[in-house]
Each structure stands twice: as structure tokens, then as C-alpha cells.
Amino acid sequence: MAVLQTKELTKQFGELTAVEEVDFQIERGEIVGIIGPNGAGKTTFVNLLTGVLNATVGDIIFGGEPLKNAPVHDRANRGLVRSFQIPQVCDDLTLLENVRSAILSREQRNSSLFSLLLWEDESRSEAIELLNEFGLGERQNLSAEAIPHGDKKILDVCMSVAMEPELLILDEPTSGVATENKHEIMKRLRNYFETTDSAVLFIEHDMELVAEYADRVFAMDQGRKLIDGPPEEVLEDETVKRRIRGEE
């Protein structure tokens, strides 16, 4: 069953049509990579999915229900969670607090006034476990501003994963990360999601990563769907080669 499906999704900014009649769907357990040249509408498309922007025309069906104009936090609570290209973490909080905050939010416990975090072990151990899984466990008590950019990126992903998403959308999960660490992030993600039936959608410029980690590739150009299929087919497509991979 499709976790998420869009029908003729369109977004116009005045005269400019950033996303035009895009039909897209993603199944449970699938890992899909979105590729496209700069300005192809990838980020706008993702922003429509996560609720940062509202579509001009078309609708998004998530978990069998239309999302309409549901706000970002509402979509996140329903299991449609995103990570950010520029890592968005809470700088003054420790890594542990960052992840714990996401866990408590997932459990809908934000308004709990009388349960001292000092004495509550469940969310703490879960957060520690998750940080360990992503290789940040040893630094759990550092504040987020004290860790390097690449690790913030991992923390950002870690917070999204803590939401136990049905669909996780990653906006360039490896941008700004040293080349040798790119595979590490992707491998940790793949390992994590192998144990769940969650779907993952990621925007990526590195075709090598796309080829290795995506089950399917969705190529966009000028706001439209260019081609959608298995990586070996899409990446060898002539238009993709010319428009996206920059080959003559």
C-alpha cells in the first residue's frame, strides 16, 4: 500500500510554476531518491509534502487520508517527518535533550507538568540507545553547539528518526558532510530502517549514493516529473544524463 501519494501536485509562486502536476507515490519499506538539477523543484516538492508550503492545486494522500493544509507539526505527529539540509537542532540543549524532546513529543507528553525528567528513565534510555546507534552516544551530555557540522547533521536525522516516522523525508542528508562520512550516515539510516517498514525519501546530488542506497529514483526537471524507476534505469536515461548528470 502506498504510504504517500500525490495527484497533480502543483505549486505556483506568482507567474512561476515551481512544481507542476507531479504524480508521485511511495510504498512501505521503500527507499526513494529524488534527483534533479538546481531549480528543478525538489525542495519545493518536499516542502509541499511536509506542510511548509501549501499546494496551489492537487492533494497529498498520506496513510489513506488527504492532508489538505495540515500544518507541519500535525503531519509530523501523523508520521510524516523531515530532516533538514542545514541541520536544525537546539544549540543550547544537550544531544540527549535534543533527542529526548523528540521522543517525548512523539509520545504526546509535551504538556506533562509533573514528571521530573531527572527521575524518568524510559525516554532517557530510549534516547541514549538511539544516540548510540548513530554513533553520538559518547557525547550525549555535550551541548549541540559544541559538535561539528557533520555530527549536527546526524543529530538532526536522529531527532527525526526518534519520531518513528511512517515516511522520513531527508533533504540532502549528506550535504556538508565529509566524503568519507557520507556512506556512514546512509548505512546507519539503511540499517535502522531495515528493521521497520517505514519509507524513506531523500533528495541527493551524489549519484553514487543514489545508485547505492535507493530502491527507486524519481528524477525531476523544471518542476515536472522527468522519469521514475529503478536506479540503473533512471541514471542511465539519456535526458537524466544530459540534464542532471551534466554529461554531454
Partner: protein, 344 residues
């Protein structure tokens, strides 16, 4: 709860209490409760400390918004003064004079104001939030000044000494006995309960939610936190406790006017206390309120230009130690422990 978990919990509590902050808190509570009976404590000192407690409740409540949620309110006088005026109106227009009825009425009034004013203001952030809070609280100030047939206008309202638990202690013990034996304790205990509750709230998931919003609203939304709603809740929690401070101030001062409880400069004073004490620390604003009242009381005795002294104090703290009194305390504590370790 089994015997084991009970012993375990007791162990945890013992561990927590015997840390330095735990011991300091215990010492503070004992000092606060025995203060009126210490040698050389007179009526003036009791009044001054009670006033510090009343303002400290409001300053900590103010910091729930500034330090924990990242919202600077210039409208907290509305909650402080709103609660105080509710008490004033009840005393003026009804036969009720029981503190344990007046206090809940003040709290409910502050809560109602915070619900309405907060609902409108949290749709905006930063300077827009601050100014909207300022505008809405100024509206209440103007209403109290202009509707003078009902409100007493700029003359304000007298606050007669209330009965406590049905007993009129002023008739029994005289005002001085009432202040030192009853009113001081009412205010000190309200202070301890309010601070205790706010500490628990800020160290529970609610507090972590607010800090997440303060640090990064976009991230907060992405992990499913309805940001506007929680800014509103924070404003209400803050408003309610500011109202407790307002009721205590009114009862202690026996008189309120729009200028003493509702003027925007009162909101500015809460900000002053929070910054002076340190917005990054939970207890900072308590020290800030203490320092503010002490400096002002000394400066007023010294010079009529006491505002200048206050301004200079704030200037120095912002330039030299932006983390406030709490920052100074933390640094000296670290230095002290380092030098002790260095001796080993």
C-alpha cells in the same frame, strides 16, 4: 510501589538533596522561615524581604517566558496588576475579606487575562510579541485610570488587611504582629510553593518543550510540537504566577494604584530583575529581584536620583556579566572547586 523501589526512590532523593544546590535550597528555606525571629530583624526588614518574595515570584514567572520560551513580554504588569485589582475590587464591592478567597480570585483573574492577551500575542514573535503585550496591558492601565468612578482612577484602591483562615489577626495582634507573624509567612510560603511548582514544570517534559521552541521553532514543529499553542500555554503559566506575585504585593502594600501595579514600567522591572539575576538560570531572577529591591531601597535613601543608580547597575551587569548574578555565582563556584582540586 514495592519496598525495593521505595528504598531506591529514597536513595535517589537523598542523593539529590545532599548535592550543593540541594543543601543551598534547604538552607534558604530554613532562613526564609526563621527570618522574622532572627535577632536584629525589625518590621522594616520583614516588609522588605516579603516584598522581595512577592517580586521574585513574578520575576521567575516572567523568566518562564524570557529564559525558557524565548519571548520578551512587556505586558506582565497586566497580570500582576490585574490580580491586584481583582483583590481591590472584591474588597471594595463585596463583604469578602478572606485571603484564601482573595488569592484564588486574583489567580483566576490573572489566568483569564493571560488566556486572552496571550492568545492574541503569541501569533507574533520577537519585537511584535513584546509590543503587542505592551499595548494590551496598557489598555488595562488606561481603563483603570479612566473608569475612576469604579476603579478609583489614579488614586487607586485601598487594600485592607484580609482575614487569614477566618481570623482577623490585625484586631488581635496589631498590624506589626500580623505582618511578622502571619502575612510574612503567607507570602514566604506562596513564594516557596510557586517557585517549587515552576521548577517542577520547567524540569518536566513541558519545560523541555519550551526550551526546544526557544532554541529552534522550526525544529520544534518538525518533531510535532504545536509551537504557537505552547507559547500560549507558557504565557498562561507565566501570567498565573505573576498574578500570585501581584496579590501578595497588593496585600503587603495595603494600597494599589495604576502606576504601582499596572504601569508598563512595572513590566520593565520584571525584565530588569530577570536580566540582573540571569535569564539562563532558574533561580537567577530570585537573586535579581532581591538585588533590585535592595539596591533600590539603598539608593532611595542615598539620593533622589536613584533611577540613575539602577540604570548604572543594569548597564554594568549587561556589559560585564551578561549571565547575571547567576553567572557570577557559577563562575566563582567553578573557580572555588578548581582551586580545591588544585590543592590535591
Amino acid at each position: 510501589m514495592s519496598q525495593d523501589t521505595k528504598t531506591e526512590l529514597r536513595g535517589v532523593i537523598r542523593q539529590r538533596v545532599t548535592t550543593l544546590p540541594g543543601l543551598a535550597t534547604a538552607a534558604f528555606v530554613m532562613l526564609a522561615l526563621s527570618f522574622p525571629y532572627l535577632p536584629s530583624t525589625g518590621q522594616f526588614e520583614v516588609f522588605l524581604v516579603a516584598q522581595i518574595f512577592a517580586f521574585a515570584i513574578a520575576a521567575v514567572a516572567f523568566n518562564v517566558l524570557l529564559g525558557y520560551t524565548g519571548l520578551l513580554s512587556f505586558g506582565h504588569a497586566a497580570f500582576f496588576g490585574g490580580a491586584a485589582y481583582a483583590v481591590g475590587f472584591v474588597l471594595r464591592y463585596t463583604a469578602i475579606s478572606e485571603l484564601f478567597i482573595l488569592l484564588p480570585i486574583g489567580i483566576v483573574t490573572a489566568a483569564a487575562l493571560a488566556v486572552v492577551i496571550g492568545y492574541i500575542s503569541v501569533r507574533y514573535t520577537e519585537v511584535y510579541y513584546s509590543l503587542l503585550m505592551l499595548a494590551l496591558s496598557f489598555l488595562i492601565y488606561v481603563l483603570m485610570v479612566k473608569l475612576y468612578t469604579i476603579t478609583g482612577g489614579t488614586d487607586g484602591l485601598p487594600i485592607s488587611a484580609p482575614t487569614v483562615g477566618g481570623v482577623d489577626y490585625v484586631a488581635l495582634w496589631g498590624y506589626s504582629g500580623f505582618l511578622q507573624g502571619i502575612l510574612y509567612y503567607v507570602i514566604a510560603i506562596s513564594f516557596l510553593i510557586s517557585i517549587g511548582l515552576m521548577w517542577i514544570f520547567m524540569n518536566s517534559p513541558f519545560g523541555l518543550t519550551l526550551k526546544t521552541i526557544r532554541d529552534n521553532p522550526e525544529r520544534a514543529r518538525a518533531i510535532g510540537i504545536p509551537v504557537i499553542k505552547y507559547r500560549w500555554y507558557a504565557t498562561i503559566v507565566s501570567g498565573v504566577f505573576t498574578g500570585v506575585g501581584g496579590v501578595m504585593y497588593a496585600v503587603l502594600n495595603s494600597h494599589i494604584t495604576p502606576d504601582t501595579v499596572l504601569h508598563w514600567s512595572r513590566s520593565g522591572e520584571f525584565a530588569f530583575m530577570a536580566v540582573l539575576g540571569g535569564v539562563g538560570s532558574f533561580v537567577g531572577p530570585i537573586a535579581g529581584a532581591g538585588a533590585f529591591i535592595m539596591i533600590r531601597s539603598q539608593a532611595q535613601q542615598l539620593t533622589e536620583y536613584w533611577h540613575f543608580v539602577m540604570g548604572a547597575a543594569l548597564f554594568l551587569i549587561i556589559v560585564l556579566e551578561p549571565a547575571g548574578i547567576a553567572g557570577i555565582a557559577k563562575r566563582s563556584y567553578r573557580k572555588a572547586t578548581e582551586s580545591i582540586r588544585g590543592d590535591d
